[in-house]
């Protein structure tokens, strides 16, 4: 009898404590973030953590429009030279410092001037920041910049405590987000805990949020299934079936912003001297030999979104009148004959040395061989790939871009003559003109027209061949409710909670 009583007692005790027990949300992420300083960090994994740690001036909605966050409203001056923002009242940073116009000025200056800031190019148009009132700030730009709001919706618009930013920020980041930094064990976990003075604390329901980097996709899923994790991101398409079959799990599959493209070396050094680099008919023949939907079905279980544009379908800049060309081997052969090239056309395709990229490369190799191409597939490790491409040591490079909500970030730096990521050195002055102009126009319809013209030049030249958009697949335990997926794949924790 006594043991039974003891047991019941113990049970009651556990029930009692669990009612007041801490709620911890455990999120499995694909890789370990780099430095936790929004102005200096570069990894996607870092952005996942910032979503809980740092507030931004504005946030981007699932429809890729912009919502107030720390800035409650904003407006451009008539000459489009000044962006005035009204700031939220009563916001404090995790260290108790107040958030105000001075803090905004400090942060934007830091992002613009810190020697190793990676936000410089994002804020390149900013001339100076003026404190108009305690909660009003005016950002003066050198030339009209339609992309600025979009930049402020990501790391460039995250607000750090000025006091903490002067010290060793990365080892103890201090922002104003709903969760504050607790501890970090490299390659193991990042722990955040509830910030009780957050301006919207009622919308955040966990005592602790733990981010655990687990690189292997199937192990990440196994952790979710065993209950060791509550949410996982970047679920592999091949794992989706398993996740959906598990009655304890729910899967969110949202079309993403990130795309894969083939970059052709047309003018970067010796390696550009081949039919592919020199004749756009050969490039068109290459594109026409590829069946994008087949790649999607074979490698991605039909879950990806094949595309011939750098803008996702959800973007208002997506051009409906530029349809994705269907595979046409006959036309491809005809183009090669017209170009009068020696058959087969030998060409080197460089891909990252991960299984997925290699598989895509092999399918392209097989498909284009039917039209008369002889593709030599070179799988290269990531860091090497970057420097080889920049040095022009490639003919066609397959590279991924994580995508931006504003169209400029998806295209300008890749295709303009002096673009930082234009590794193939393709240069079409007419295209530069259109894209430079699109940067300065705030009117959406006008802007869309400029981008549509630009997209036609890109499609005609085929120096950049877009293949597909990858979705953001997030899986979670069914007890998690309130999650709203966003094309950027970032896990926002507002209203997310465990079901009662």
């Amino acid at each position: 009898m006594i043991p039974v009583r003891l047991l019941t007692g113990a049970l009651l005790l556990t029930l009692g404590t669990s009612a007041v027990a801490e709620t911890t949300l455990r999120i499995g992420i694909q890789d370990d973030p780099d430095v936790l300083d929004p102005h200096r960090s570069r990894t996607y994994a870092g952005r996942l953590v910032y979503a809980a740690l740092c507030d931004k001036l504005v946030d981007v909605t699932p429809k890729l429009t912009y919502d107030p966050d720390l800035a409650t409203s904003w407006s451009w001056s008539d000459d489009n030279q000044t962006l005035t923002m009204k700031l939220r009242d009563g916001v404090t940073f995790h260290d108790g410092e107040p958030f105000n116009a001075e803090a905004v000025k400090y942060n934007l200056e830091r992002a613009r001037t810190l020697p190793d800031s990676l936000r410089k190019s994002e804020l390149a148009s900013v001339d100076n920041v003026e404190v108009v009132g305690p909660l009003t700030v005016a950002i003066h730009v050198k030339q009209p910049d339609a992309t600025l709001i979009s930049q402020l919706s990501d790391r460039a618009g995250m607000m750090l405590s000025p006091k903490a930013a002067e010290g060793d920020f990365a080892s103890h980041p201090v922002c104003s987000g709903p969760y504050k930094f607790d501890q970090r064990v490299q390659q193991d976990r990042i722990v955040l805990s509830r910030f009780d003075n957050h301006w919207s604390k009622a919308a955040y329901h966990f005592d602790k949020v733990v981010y655990l980097p687990i690189p292997d996709t199937s192990v990440r899923l196994a952790n979710l299934r065993s209950g060791d994790l509550d949410i996982i991101e970047r679920v592999a398409p091949t794992d989706v079936k398993t996740a959906k079959a598990d009655s304890n799990l729910q899967v969110f599959n949202t079309p993403g912003l990130g795309y894969m493209q083939l970059i052709v070396n047309v003018a970067n050094g010796e390696k550009a001297n081949n039919p592919m680099g020199q004749d756009k008919r050969v490039r068109k023949a290459f594109e026409l030999a590829i069946d994008r939907e087949a790649i999607n079905q074979v490698v991605f279980e039909g879950l990806y979104a094949p595309s011939n544009q750098p803008f996702p379908k959800d973007s208002s800049y997506f051009d409906e009148s530029l349809p994705m060309p269907a595979r046409d081997v006959e036309k491809s052969k005809a183009l090669l004959a017209e170009a009068g090239v020696k058959m087969p056309v030998n060409v080197q395709l460089t891909v990252a040395n991960n299984p997925i990229a290699q598989q895509v490369g092999q399918i392209i190799q097989a498909m284009t061989s039917e039209a008369g191409f002889n593709v030599n597939l070179v799988a290269t490790e990531y860091a090497t790939l970057l420097s080889e491409q920049q040095a022009g040591n490639f003919q066609i490079g397959m590279s991924a871009w994580s995508g931006r909500p504003d169209p400029d970030g998806d295209v300008h730096q890749f295709v303009t003559c002096k673009g930082a990521q234009n590794d193939g050195h393709a240069c079409f002055p007419e295209l530069d003109e259109l894209l430079n102009k699109a940067r300065t126009v705030n009117d959406e319809a006008q802007r869309k027209e400029l981008y549509s013209k630009a997209l036609r030049i890109i499609a005609d030249q085929d120096a950049n061949i877009y293949l597909y958009f990858d979705p953001r697949i997030i899986a979670m335990n069914k007890k998690v409710s309130g999650f709203v997926p966003n094309p950027d794949g970032i896990i926002r924790l507002k209203d997310v909670q465990f079901a009662q």
Binding site: D116, Q186, D188, V219, R225, S226, A420
Partner: protein, 315 residues
């Protein structure tokens, strides 16, 4: 014995210098630029140049090596390019994890490898011997990452007895710590047990054939005493060599196993560092592992002397 140890330690210094030089040169020969990997998707040229200057990557190679070596002598192994943490601190945070996993894995390997090795030697040619061989060979040939995932599926997802992956430090919760290390230690241990079993079996067979074992048997000693006291003790030398070598290998990091179980040890750190061209981390970890190897070799030599009186007296 003390002079022997000191002499061995001194003679290790040139080895360590050579190792560090070799790794340094090899890394610089690798294609790929750490700064490009660090500068993010945008690769802003101004940032790229600043970072090159900041980390002295524009300096001539000998100068880069000398400044690293100067720091290393005072215990400063430089900063990680990727996370901006001191390398020595990173190593100190991973070392206990790596050592703990290595010890547990070795324990599993010894517990399986030595008894099966002895049994299959004394029962040579019987079904028991063949059975032990099959077990040993499958341990060696089953890929660790596959076994790892299968075990996770069984013990974490289906039975829910153990956590699927991750690591809890001993200081935080000893029981959780053991739970998180059980599967990885088992996976690593079974992989090594096969090698140990084969070595034990070979050494035992050789000793069992020798005259003094026949004499001991002829004296009418218990078979168990013959095997354990006379034969096994003399078969120990190659086993000790093998065990220290295996331990050294484990200290170098069990890359795949750590990856599958998300154990934050050396293996994961060095792979990430190589992919990101985080030179100082690679350099620091390799130096540390080399020191580990030197010490283990020394330990093996000391153990030889303890086991074998002839060596002890020769010194």
């Amino acid at each position: 014995m003390l002079t022997f140890i000191l002499r061995r330690l001194l003679s290790a210094i040139p080895t360590l210098i050579l190792v560090s030089l070799f790794v340094f040169t090899l890394q610089k020969l690798l294609p790929g630029d750490p700064v490009l990997a660090m500068a993010g998707e945008e690769r802003d040229p101004a940032v790229v140049n600043y970072l090159r200057e900041k980390y002295h990557l524009n300096d001539p190679m000998p100068i880069q090596y000398l400044s690293w070596a100067k720091g290393a002598l005072t215990g400063d192994l430089g900063m990680s390019l990727r996370t901006e943490q001191p390398v020595s601190q990173l190593i100190l945070s991973k070392l206990p994890v790596t050592i703990e996993l290595a010890v547990l894995a070795l324990l599993v390997a010894l517990l399986i490898g030595i008894p099966t090795g002895i049994v299959s030697a004394i029962r040579k040619g019987t079904a028991l011997d063949y059975g032990a061989n099959v077990v040993a060979l499958s341990g060696i040939s089953i890929p660790n990452f596959w076994l790892g995932i299968v075990l996770i599926m069984i013990f974490a997802v289906k039975l829910q007895w153990l956590p699927a992956s991750g690591f809890v430090p001993f200081s935080e919760s000893p029981s959780r710590n053991l739970q998180t290390l059980l599967l990885p230690a088992f996976v690593l241990g079974t992989g090594l047990a096969g090698t140990l079993m084969r070595h034990t079996r070979g050494a035992m067979l050789e000793v069992l054939r020798s005259d003094y074992v026949r004499t001991a048997r002829a004296k009418g000693l218990f078979p168990m005493a013959v095997v354990l006291k006379h034969a096994f003790r003399n078969a120990l030398m190659p086993i000790v060599t093998m065990t220290t070598l295996l331990f050294g290998e484990l200290l170098g990091g069990a890359v795949l196993t750590e990856q599958v179980f998300s154990i934050p040890g050396f293996g994961k750190m060095i792979v990430d560092a190589v992919f990101n061209r985080d030179y100082s981390v690679v350099q620091g970890v390799v130096l540390c592992v080399a020191i580990g190897f030197v010490l283990l070799n020394l330990l093996a030599d000391v153990l030889y002397r303890l086991i074998n009186p002839r060596l002890r007296n020769a010194a």
